[in-house]
């Protein structure tokens, strides 16, 4: 807007009248004189300032896959969604199965400074009347979904988020959970190679057909090993039958069982239960450490809402947790022990981190002779009770033990199905099956090497 001569600078009005530089209004027509360059620069900087309103950090992303996975994420979102900032929740289901689902999906409130994490549902497209009963078919369903990457990007999974933890919840007995979950995690890793991935895998119950155990074994093998390494940094195995047997006590004194107990475990993992208190819980750190150690499969052991007055000390609570592991564990082979402890603030002085660490070390030594690493993450809640939540994650036991039922089911199922029909009926080839067995064996062998 300002034209410059060598000597005299002039400002031009909207009617092209020349005025001395700095004039506010034209002396001929009276119209205001605007410095266009300056106004443009200001306008652009003000648009750029909008970044403060559109920059969203998604540090934790929760994905539930398949019917059971969706239920777990839905339950978790309802219980803890409000206290988790910088998080996002997604349920992924095959379009056929979703027709029976009754998830309550909250829409994000608009015009709000802080948006609570919202829950969304993504349907993997499938033809009507088709069944996704097997791992291979579930994987194919996810593989054929052209909108999957976009859905994950919309969740905020992208390479620019360097500190991101993806927590995937899935039951591995069904086709969608077992087959789609590894592929989805593969896409997560492709979209954000920095992301740390935790899988909470519900293993099928003993009375489920061999096909369910077959699915679980196939899925585990993919989580534990792909061409580019393991998909899951931490794989928490939860045996359905064992989960049904244990109980916990919630912050309000209510009984916790089944999905709500699992939901509580996830909340402890991500530090959601503190209710305004402080938390050291960092699932990303656990994932990082597991990756660097090469130990990925863990057995969770829970002691939720244990009264300190009744149990007498942290050692007894640890024992209580260890007495009911959610998957088989061999104490001799445990190499990594992660302990997430939540104590009420009012008891912080009697249960100081230093004391807890000392007691934990002593207990670890007595129970796990081959232990190579231990992490304690302590949180304090504003609860007025004397109840302590403890979540023990034990890694290092061979999958041949931890997932024995899945392996046995896999072997039985494999033998009864004719080889020629593998690909068409179940979406896997005999070559795939060999690779799967090899993957699990290879993981177990590495653990053996580390132990020796």
């Amino acid at each position: 807007m300002i034209s410059q001569d060598s000597d005299n600078k002039v400002s031009v009005c909207p009617n092209n009248h020349q005025n001395p530089e700095g004039s506010e209004c034209c002396y001929v027509c009276g119209l205001p004189i605007i410095d266009y360059e300056a106004e443009l620069e200001l306008l652009l900087s003000q648009y750029a300032d909008e970044e403060q309103h559109v920059k969203f950090l998604r540090e934790k992303v929760f994905i539930g896959i398949g019917d059971q996975g969706c239920k777990l994420v839905n339950e978790f979102h309802q219980s803890w969604g409000k206290v988790l900032k910088s998080s996002e929740f997604l349920m992924i289901e095959s379009s056929g199965e979703s027709q029976q689902s009754t998830y309550s999906i909250s829409r994000p409130p608009s015009n709000q400074e802080y948006k609570s994490p919202h829950l969304s549902l993504h349907l993997l497209p499938m033809s009507i009347n088709r069944q996704v009963g097997y791992y291979g078919l579930g994987e194919r369903l996810a593989l054929d979904d052209p909108a999957l990457d976009d859905r994950l990007l919309r969740l905020g999974i992208r390479a620019s988020t360097t500190k991101q933890t993806v927590i995937l919840l899935s039951a591995l007995g069904g086709g969608t959970g077992s087959g789609a979950s590894p592929h989805i995690l593969l896409r997560v890793k492709a979209l954000n190679p920095h992301s740390r991935n935790l899988v909470i895998a519900m293993m099928p119950a003993a009375d489920e057909p061999d096909g369910a155990h077959f699915n679980a074994f196939c899925s585990l093998s993919r989580f534990i090993k792909t061409d580019r390494g393991p998909l899951a940094d931490v794989l928490l195995l939860v045996d359905y039958d064992r989960l049904m047997k244990i109980r916990g006590v919630g912050t309000m004194g209510e009984e916790l069982a089944r999905e709500s107990l699992l939901s509580h475990m996830v909340a402890a993992l991500v530090g959601a239960i503190t209710n305004g208190g402080s938390s050291e819980a960092d699932p990303g750190y656990l994932a990082k450490m597991s990756s660097s150690m090469g130990v990925h499969a863990f057995t969770p052991c829970l002691a939720i809402g244990r009264s300190l007055e009744i149990f007498g000390g942290i050692e007894n609570i640890l024992e209580s947790a260890l007495s009911s592991p959610l998957a088989p564990v061999d104490k001799e082979s445990v190499m990594l022990s992660y302990v997430l402890v939540q104590v009420p603030d009012r008891m912080a002085s009697s249960l100081q981190e230093k004391t807890l660490r000392a007691e934990l070390n002593k207990w670890n030594k007595a129970n796990f002779p081959h232990l190579k690493g231990s992490v304690l993450q302590l949180s304090h809640s504003s609860s007025t009770s004397d109840r302590v939540d403890l979540c023990l994650l034990l890694g290092g036991t061979r999958l041949a033990i931890t997932a024995k039922r899945a392996k046995d089911g896999f072997n039985r199922f494999k033998s009864v199905v004719g080889r020629k029909s593998w690909e068409q009926e179940f979406g896997v080839t005999s070559k795939n099956l060999l690779e799967m067995e090899k993957a699990i064996d290879s993981y177990d062998s590495k653990l053996d090497e580390m132990a020796s």
């Binding site: 807007m1 034209s3 031009v12 909207p14 009617n15 092209n16 027509c29 119209l31 205001p32 605007i34 266009y36 360059e37 106004e39 443009l40 306008l43 652009l44 003000q46 648009y47 750029a48 909008e50 970044e51 309103h53 559109v54 920059k55 969203f56 994000p108 608009s110 015009n111 400074e113 976009d150 990007l153 919309r154 905020g156 992208r158 620019s160």
Partner: protein, 324 residues
């Protein structure tokens, strides 16, 4: 506006007689007087010496679309359209001599000048259409880009995708018809949108807005066809007005974003700027704005007046581009 002004000026000037010729014979009528002024050509016929003269035709030169002189027969053939739009052909036999030649020359010259003036007026009208169209699309694209910024706040990607498709179309028109080429930026923006990275998309939106703003920085329109008109002093929109429409469009949208997030300081800083831009635009376009009396009004009333003026401006842009 320009044409009306010219007409008024012309009406005030006295009509000048350029040539007059007697003994001209109009086919099927008879002899009479042919007069040529700087505005019209007319033929008067008198059936007898005592009878009063009768005007057979009087045609505005602007209506005459053909005047052919057949030198061999000294015949002038005039063609024009009557008030019903029907073609009228009049054949006039002129008496031999210099006077007839002189009238024919004067007529031809006058018609040529009139055609040139008409062409110029038509091109001026086209230039105005070009400016209205440019203003409309600049207004539109800034609106779309700002809407994207708004939707990024909610991460409403479906709406962002829809806006991107519209922005692509508008960018195509801006490039092809207005000489403002932002297709590369809009393509890049569309690519960025597919990453679903809000911060990256915002940066790409800002780069696109910058590109539009920079295109308007030149004092002349990018298309050489319109540059001579941009230098003329004329009534109606000017090329420089595109800047003010652009700035106003952007500021108005930012104001609405800030109102939503309650950013009072930014709103208070922005309103006087919007009022200034409006005062410039109101000089060109009637926007029914009452902002001239905005001094002493509270922030909310000024903002309401700005929004009302913006809506009127948008209506004007639509009307003048035939999209209303």
């Amino acid at each position: 506006m320009n044409t009306n002004h010219d007409d008024i000026t012309t009406d005030l000037e006295e009509e000048k007689l350029l040539a007059e010729l007697k003994n001209v014979k109009l086919d099927n009528v008879g002899k009479g007087k042919l007069s040529l002024t700087d505005r019209r050509i007319e033929f008067e016929h008198r059936s007898s010496l005592l009878s009063p003269p009768r005007l057979e035709f009087s045609v505005d030169l602007g209506e005459v679309y053909s005047a052919r002189v057949k030198d061999t027969s000294n015949t002038l053939v005039l063609e024009w359209l009557d008030e019903n739009g029907e073609r009228v052909v009049s054949t006039l036999n002129l008496p031999e001599g210099d006077a007839a030649t002189s009238l024919c020359r004067a007529l031809t010259k006058k018609l040529r000048i009139l055609r040139q003036v008409a062409e110029l007026q038509e091109r001026r009208a086209c230039y105005q259409s070009f400016l209205w169209k440019t203003a409309y699309h600049v207004w539109g694209i800034v609106g779309l880009l700002s809407q994207i910024v708004r939707d990024l706040r909610d991460e409403d990607w479906d709406t962002v995708d829809a806006s991107i498709n519209k922005a692509r179309e508008t960018a195509k028109v801006l490039t092809l018809e207005c000489g403002i080429d932002i297709t590369d930026q809009v393509h890049a923006l569309a690519d960025t949108v597919s990453t679903r990275d809000t911060a990256l998309v915002l940066r790409s939106v800002v780069a696109t807005i910058e590109s539009i703003g920079t295109s308007l920085q030149n004092d002349l329109p990018p298309d050489a066809e319109w540059q001579e008109f941009a230098l003329e002093s004329q009534i109606g929109l000017t090329w420089l007005d595109m800047r003010y429409i652009f700035l106003f469009a952007g500021r108005r949208r930012l104001l609405s974003l800030w109102q939503e997030s309650g950013e009072t300081e930014k709103i208070e800083d922005s309103l006087p700027r919007l009022v200034t831009l409006l005062s410039i635009l109101a000089d060109r376009i009637s926007m029914g704005s009452q902002l001239e009396s905005s001094v002493g009004q509270d922030t909310s009333s000024i903002a309401d007046s700005v929004e009302s003026a913006a809506q009127n401006l948008e209506t004007w842009l639509k009307i003048n581009t035939g999209t209303a």
